[in-house]
Amino acid sequence: MTTDNATVPETSYGPVAHHFNNMGQQHATVRLGMWLFLVTEILFFGAAFVAYTAYRIWYPKDFEAGSAALNAGIASVNTFLLLISSLTVTLAIRCAYVGNRKGLIRNLILTTLLGTVFLGLKAREYQLDYVEGLIPGNVALTKEAAENVLRARADNPNLVVNNFNENLKVVLKHNGFQGVPGKDYDPSRVQLFFMFYYGITGLHVLHMVIGLGLLSWQIVLAMMGFFDFKSRYIYVETLSLYWHFVDMVWMFVLPLLYLCGPHTFGQAVEQFKLAIGLGSGSGH
């Protein structure tokens, strides 16, 4: 009775999993499954943003101050890195679809590289925050961490080991943030902002890492010729859905965390140069 899909020479598209009747059903199911998973991801990050917004409403000034202490330069560059990776992963689908194995592998590798660079910059950003002593709460620094802070102290004698509020004032002053601590913003409230900063970016980084793992796995599969069956482009597409979603999350993280405070373009450039070691290093 399944006359209409009898016309489809499915064998040329690769085998259908045992529990599906035809390739179309398999594709539809796989797509649906991924979208359902993405819905849970929407709720996941949505919940974090709900919490963020609640406090943003309560303490707007403090959150702006916190944002002013972040490195907008790295964030801006990372934005474009993710966008380009979204492009490459989309091109990868096309390659798989037209059966271009070389192109597929090239694009997947490009995506992986871009993602890795993103993570590298992110790590550098965390390390800078760490050196500036912007660790909320009463976490005891490790020995080498303390040494880091001391080394940073050589440039900036005002940095205090493991005292968030003091270090924050120093950093904000260096970033040229006009605002009197205690009057315009309350450093301990800024700790709240930093909890969200580490929490949300941390979750995003976790998703990036998982994505990179899946990408490298598909690179191996592609090299083994797994995607030579044209129908299997669906798996590249499914992964790309996930990757695009991670990109999408970053699109909202950027304005919510990094751009909500007063930043200038020149400052961002300065911060980025500093991050990659070209900066004058003044104040750090």
């Binding site: 489809v8 539809a28 359902l36 309560w58 979204s86 304005p255 919510l256």
Partner: protein, 111 residues
């Protein structure tokens, strides 16, 4: 004669009907995305005051929509996929509305 409600037949032709757009389209969309990203940064680095947040968030929303519609293939997705996505945002919205209502109205009518 087939029963239209047979999942397998309903999707039998999906594999054929579902196409992957050519590279040219992809590049156009990418250009648009980059433009939007630059706009977002421009807003972020400007001195708009309180509107800044809304503006940059609006920009991000447009960006996300473009990304979803073209790169994530919502363009050729069926109703079900749209429903799934919509429900995700709807229930996040529910959480936003009720939780934030608490924070905005808690001071009212307190003993």
């Amino acid at each position: 004669m087939t029963t239209p409600t047979n999942s397998s037949e309903r999707h039998a032709d999906e594999f054929l009907s579902h196409t992957v757009p050519p590279t040219s389209t992809t590049l156009t969309v990418f250009a648009a995305l980059v433009g939007l990203a630059m706009l977002a940064l421009l807003i972020g680095f400007s001195e708009l005051g309180p509107i800044k947040v809304l503006a940059s968030l609006g920009c991000a929303t447009v960006q996300a929509c473009v990304l979803g519609y073209f790169f994530m293939e919502l363009k050729q997705a069926d109703k079900l996929t749209w429903l799934v996505v919509a429900s995700g945002f709807f229930f996040t919205g529910i959480q936003f509305v009720f939780t934030l209502t608490d924070y905005l109205t808690r001071h009212l009518g307190v003993l």
